[in-house]
């Protein structure tokens, strides 16, 4: 029961929010209007009625639950990849490793950008200063260590999410057969790769207009 809720919470609301997050960030990828669009998007989000309530119910509580229960699950594992080096077994272990990375990465990310509570690094919450949103993020990404943290953090997120979709589908008895699982597996990998490309592109949009692709798609 708790486990099933854990799996579900990873898809909705957390997975859904992740996609929304990508959508908002991607506003910054426009080669000319990126800065203004992104700041506007942040302001719009803040203008949602009962935003704090929505944030707490649909993001913070599920996130806390998913994170804490996830660590508890990880605690129970007895990995044996060296004796049984099958791909799925590696996926299993990597899902747990990325989970641990994400615990710290998301904690850092929240304190840093959402709450602006990291003295010496950033004390301005992006959410509270929509006018400066782009600038705050951009200032940080110019620091190489921060950029690297984000590139790794995003990779973990995307992996955890893409593989998580697969796990959800099989754990909820939706995809059962071996062949169906294989096909779904490839679809999830494809989806993950796509997400990662988009996300890295938009991350670099905070460093140069248009991101890595230089606004190729506009």
């Amino acid at each position: 029961m708790l486990r099933k809720l854990h799996q579900l919470s990873g898809i909705v609301p957390l997975g859904a929010f992740l996609l929304e997050h990508l959508y908002t960030n991607s506003k910054a990828a426009h080669p000319e209007r990126g800065v203004a669009d992104f700041n506007q998007a942040v302001a719009d989000l803040q203008a949602i009625p009962y935003v704090l309530f929505i944030e707490i119910t649909f993001i913070f509580i599920p996130l806390l639950y998913h994170a804490v229960y996830g660590l508890f699950i990880t605690w129970e594992t007895r990995p044996n990849n060296l004796s049984y080096p099958y791909p799925r077994n590696w996926f299993y272990t990597i899902q747990r490793i990325t989970g641990i990375i994400l615990f710290f990465f998301i904690l850092f990310h929240l304190l840093n950008f959402r709450f602006g509570l990291i003295p010496g690094l950033n004390e301005r919450a992006v959410a509270h200063y929509p006018n400066e949103a782009y600038e705050i993020v951009s200032r940080e990404f110019q620091m190489l260590p921060i950029l690297i943290i984000y590139i790794i953090g995003i990779a973990s997120t995307v992996w955890h999410f893409a593989n998580g979709i697969w796990l959800f589908l099989v754990d909820w008895g939706i995809v059962i057969g071996e062949r169906a699982q294989r096909v779904t597996g490839y679809a999830c990998i494809g989806f993950g790769v796509l997400l990662y490309v988009l996300w890295i592109n938009v991350t670099f949009a905070f460093l140069r207009p248009g991101g890595l692709l230089g606004g190729l798609l506009y």
């Binding site: 594992t77 099989v170 754990d171």
Partner: protein, 277 residues
């Protein structure tokens, strides 16, 4: 394959070769070295001991263990106690001889020395780690039988009177059930499962038996009881989808299919079951 030409000169050697998986090794090898992880009594410390037994073609691990039993002397010539292990059918049907051979769990009766030597030399033998170790290579697997009771892995009959012919099943169902029926409760799947440890998770073996009985037209009558047997804290949700179980099962039982079918059944039962009460 240089030995090939040498050997064809004698007809006897030709006949002999057709039975030998590794003819090039046979001529050189006199002994097989085996490292065994031993424990003198329950609770005692484990230790490694090295043995060397005379090589013959087509040896399996049980025959090596029998050699050691006849002459319990370590490789260095020190006298020791005979190694304890379990065996019964000697044809990979009963599952009792399961142990960790060269780091992988499998049946020692069907583990062939010629192949094992290609993996690792000396060959290593260890008892399974997920069950209480009684002595040397013998473990106590009664936990698995408790699990079968927990999930009521049988079909109820209400009396000894003649119930008439049973309901019909399609060929496909029969074939699928046959696959699950082959389980010999050997424990390989539990040993390789990264989620299984003591009693935190009931494990794939019992879940496959739930599937097996739930597919049966008469077994379906007590389906919900079985589902509840795998819906507790130690239940099916503990599966982490590493899918090792299905890779190591010596009877090629579609364990993950059983798990996912039962995922579906338990979810539906969990979501809507209470509405029936």
């Amino acid at each position: 394959m240089s030995t090939h030409t040498d050997r064809t000169s004698s007809t006897e050697a030709t006949a002999d070769r057709s039975y030998t998986p590794a003819p090039e090794r046979q001529s050189e090898r006199k002994f097989v070295d085996i490292r065994i992880k031993r424990r003198d009594r329950p609770g005692a410390e484990q230790r490694w001991e090295d043995f060397s037994v005379p090589y013959r073609p087509n040896l399996n691990i049980i025959s090596c263990l029998m050699d050691i039993q006849k002459n319990p002397v370590t490789k260095d010539g020190a006298k020791t106690t005979p190694v304890v292990w379990d065996m019964n059918c000697l044809e990979q049907v009963c599952g009792i001889c399961t142990m960790i051979v060269n780091g992988k769990v499998r049946q020692s009766c069907s583990a062939l020395v010629d192949q094992l030597l290609k993996e690792k030399d000396p060959i290593t033998l260890e008892p399974m780690t997920k069950f209480p170790n009684v002595r040397d290579l013998a473990v106590d697997r009664s936990r698995m039988f408790e699990h079968l009771k927990q999930v009521k892995a049988w079909i109820e009959i209400d009396g000894t009177h003649d119930l008439g012919a049973g309901p019909k099943m399609t060929q496909d169902e029969v074939a699928e059930r046959y696959a699950y029926s082959r389980c010999m409760t050997c424990g390989c799947c539990l040993e390789a499962c990264p989620q299984y440890d003591e009693d935190q998770y009931i494990g794939p073996q019992a879940i496959a038996q739930v599937r097996y009985q739930n597919m049966h037209p008469s077994g379906k009558m007590t389906r919900d009881e079985r589902l509840e047997g795998i819906m507790g804290d130690d239940g099916i949700t503990n599966c982490g989808n590493a899918q090792n179980c299905v890779r190591v099962c010596p009877m090629s039982i579609p364990l993950t299919k059983a798990i996912y079918e039962e995922n579906r059944e338990t979810i539906l039962h969990g979501l809507f079951g209470w509405l029936k009460r």
